[in-house]
């Protein structure tokens, strides 16, 4: 197998460009409300795939379907790992995590009372095998395993430039740093696909720049596929390879940033009828 990258942070055996995740005709409803209506999309290895849309369009619901927190009533989600394909539609979140799909949350959901280091180590849970008894004895194999992942956690700490806070309790950190730690925790899973739910929400320009740089590092150096929800159009147009647009639970367009910015349905959904007010055009993208 020949690949351009081979690094610890990526557990996917696929080659760049291979079909990795296939969402087909997914319908998700809560009682009378339909959150997702016949949504289909395909995600390929090592791309940055952005999902955009107005508030309440179903973006987070779609991520929740992929990571198993919601189970769609119709449709299927298929996940490819080279020699096997997995139907993950009905799997539990932890089973999907074990297959290599990691995510971060819109509202930070870190383990508040743990240190940064412990949060990252907790992210590596799926890779750690020590049993109960040997854990309690902390002897031989268990200790070696802990030290191995302690060293691995240090790689992530270096990547995200959070060395200075590694022993701090997460709850007392600034918002921007917490977002960074959450990315680190997800990376510790060595994900094949990384789902990021608004990683830059509530950040200032500099923090956004940093975060965009980390996302690009992870994608370019490690080849991790990234599925991104974000509201900042500048960032989206800059870093994503392909974009899907959701509106009222339906996919109204997808394609490269240029294609999407020219798509009439998308322009209408975002801006109403008047095309002169298109902010994407105003930004000269």
């Amino acid at each position: 197998m020949q690949r351009d990258f081979r690094h610890t942070l990526n557990s996917s055996p696929l080659n760049p460009g291979d079909l990795q995740l296939n969402v087909e005709h997914v319908r998700l409803g809560f009682g009378g409300v339909t959150a997702l209506f016949d949504v289909s999309l395909s995600i390929y290895q090592s791309e940055i795939f952005a999902i955009i849309g107005p508030n309440g369009a179903g973006k987070t619901s779609l991520l929740n379907c992929i990571s198993g927190l919601y189970h769609p009533q119709q449709g299927s989600i298929t996940y490819h790992t080279g020699n096997a394909e997995h139907q993950i539609t009905k799997l539990k979140p932890y089973e999907i995590a074990e297959l290599g799909i990691a995510r971060s949350f819109q509202n930070i959901e870190l383990f508040r009372h743990m240190t940064v280091l412990d949060n990252i180590m907790a992210g590596a849970h799926v890779h750690m095998k020590a049993g109960l008894l040997s854990s309690m004895l902390y002897w031989g194999k268990t200790q070696r395993e802990e030290i191995k992942f302690r060293r691995f956690a240090e790689d992530i700490i270096d990547l995200l430039e959070i060395q200075a806070i590694r022993d701090k309790q997460v709850g007392e950190l600034a918002y921007g740093l917490q977002k960074r730690v959450e990315l680190g925790r997800a990376l510790a899973m060595k994900p094949a696909i990384l789902l990021l739910d608004e990683p830059m929400a509530g950040m200032n320009a500099e923090e956004k720049e940093d975060m965009a740089r980390f996302v690009l590092d992870v994608n370019e150096e490690h080849g991790v596929t990234i599925v991104l929800i974000e509201h900042d159009m500048g960032v989206i147009m800059d870093i994503s390879d392909r974009i899907a647009v959701l509106n009222f639970g339906q996919k109204i367009g997808d394609g490269t940033p240029e294609e999407v910015s020219k798509n009439q349905d998308v322009v209408h959904a975002y801006l109403g009828e008047d095309e002169d007010a298109n902010p994407v055009k105003q930004m000269n993208l």
């Binding site: 990571s67 198993g68 927190l69 539990k92 979140p93 932890y94 995590a97 074990e98 990691a102 995510r103 949350f105 959901e109 870190l110 383990f111 508040r112 009372h113 743990m114 412990d118 180590m121 907790a122 992210g123 590596a124 849970h125 799926v126 750690m128 020590a130 109960l132 854990s135 309690m136 004895l137 902390y138 268990t142 200790q143 802990e146 030290i147 992942f149 302690r150 060293r151 925790r185 997800a186 899973m189």
Partner: protein, 347 residues
């Protein structure tokens, strides 16, 4: 002078204790524990043994409540399972104390895991009520299953023997209890620096994120109930062997609340906190009794209302603790350490 702690290996960085001061404190504490029985009289030995048993039980409860965030009012019931299992096996099958204690731990772990099943659906107060139900169910079974448990009558357990020595004297039992308390503390401290312990804490802090990070909630919640109950069962079994009389009255819901008070006052989510809490809750009534006795000679009127004063004082101290140091004695201990680390410079 050091300007900080610098580790050059990950192994050292992940150790339980880092500085010479920490290690020295540990050694001093161990020497104190070893020397104590040779200087203490029978009264203090009894107190020390009670503290030892309570420490094991409190560490067990802290694994469940403090570390995993699954509130439990079933402590008394689980201790009863441990105590009755150990007593019945020793009386009816003639098992040596250590074997019956081990079996009692395992049986309690299984019972604890069974009663932990509702925890998958219930959280917080709802789980508290569910575990309260398990407490009442266990005590009901104990008092009504006459053929096995002797019903409301007491079971008399023969004195534990080790290498031909009777261990039931306070002096001999002291070594047994504190050896087991030490092992319990070490095993628990180790557990919480590995991935299983982190999974427990992750469930407490953010269960949805924990599941998305690949932690099987069902498995780890039940595992937490089982590990916790294992040690709680050990505390129950030791109570049976130490007191040599087992009655259901020793394991009512009062005990569950008392143990919760221990870990809250001592410090949730910490082994040391469990020890502090067990010591405090055991010594407080004893101190109050002694105080009452010494006051009795000067104020004869105290005698008749002494029990009420004791109960009120007990409640008052707990309330004051929660108001002034909600994070428990463990936090006070940390503050003291921090103060002296910088002393005499306060910045």
């Amino acid at each position: 002078m050091n300007s900080g702690i610098f580790h050059s290996t990950y192994k050292a960085d992940m150790g339980l204790r880092h500085t010479y001061l920490e290690k020295a404190r540990w050694v001093i504490f161990a020497i104190f524990l070893l020397a104590f029985p040779f200087f203490a009289n029978r009264y203090y030995l009894t107190l020390a043994n009670t503290i030892g048993i309570a420490t094991i039980g409190a560490i067990g409860l802290n694994i469940l409540v403090g570390y995993t965030g699954q509130i439990s009012l079933g402590q008394g019931g689980f201790m009863a399972v441990g105590a009755y299992t150990a007593a019945i096996l020793t009386i009816n099958m003639g098992m040596p104390w250590w074997a019956s204690t081990l079996v009692a731990c395992v049986v309690t772990a299984i019972v604890g895991a069974l009663f932990g099943i509702p925890s998958l659906r219930l959280k917080g107060l709802y789980l508290a009520i569910a575990t309260l139900a398990s407490q009442e169910i266990i005590i009901w079974i104990v008092t009504h299953w006459d053929a096995v448990t002797g019903g409301v009558d007491a079971l008399v357990v023969p004195a534990p023997m080790l290498f031909g020595i009777t261990m039931s004297s306070d002096f001999n039992f002291y070594w047994l209890v504190w050896a087991l308390a030490g092992v319990t503390a070490l095993l628990t401290a180790n557990l919480f620096r590995t991935h299983i312990g982190r999974a427990f804490v992750a469930i407490r802090d953010q269960d949805i994120a924990a599941e998305v990070m690949g932690i099987n909630l069902f498995k780890y919640k039940l595992l937490s109930f089982a590990v916790s109950s294992f040690f709680v069962g050990m505390a129950g079994a030791l109570t049976a062997h130490y007191r040599s009389i087992v009655t259901w009255e020793r394991f009512t819901v009062d005990i569950s609340v008392l143990y919760l008070a221990m870990i809250i006052i001592g410090g949730l989510g910490s082994v040391r906190g469990a020890f502090f809490g067990a010591t405090f809750i055991t010594l407080l009534p004893a101190t109050l009794t002694n105080l009452g006795r010494s006051l009795k000679s000067t104020f004869p009127v105290v005698d008749s209302i002494l029990p009420f004063i004791q109960q009120a004082a007990f409640g008052l101290v707990i309330i004051l603790f929660l108001v002034f140091e909600p994070e428990g004695i463990n936090k006070m201990w940390k503050d003291i350490k921090d103060y002296f680390r910088l002393w005499p410079f306060s910045y």
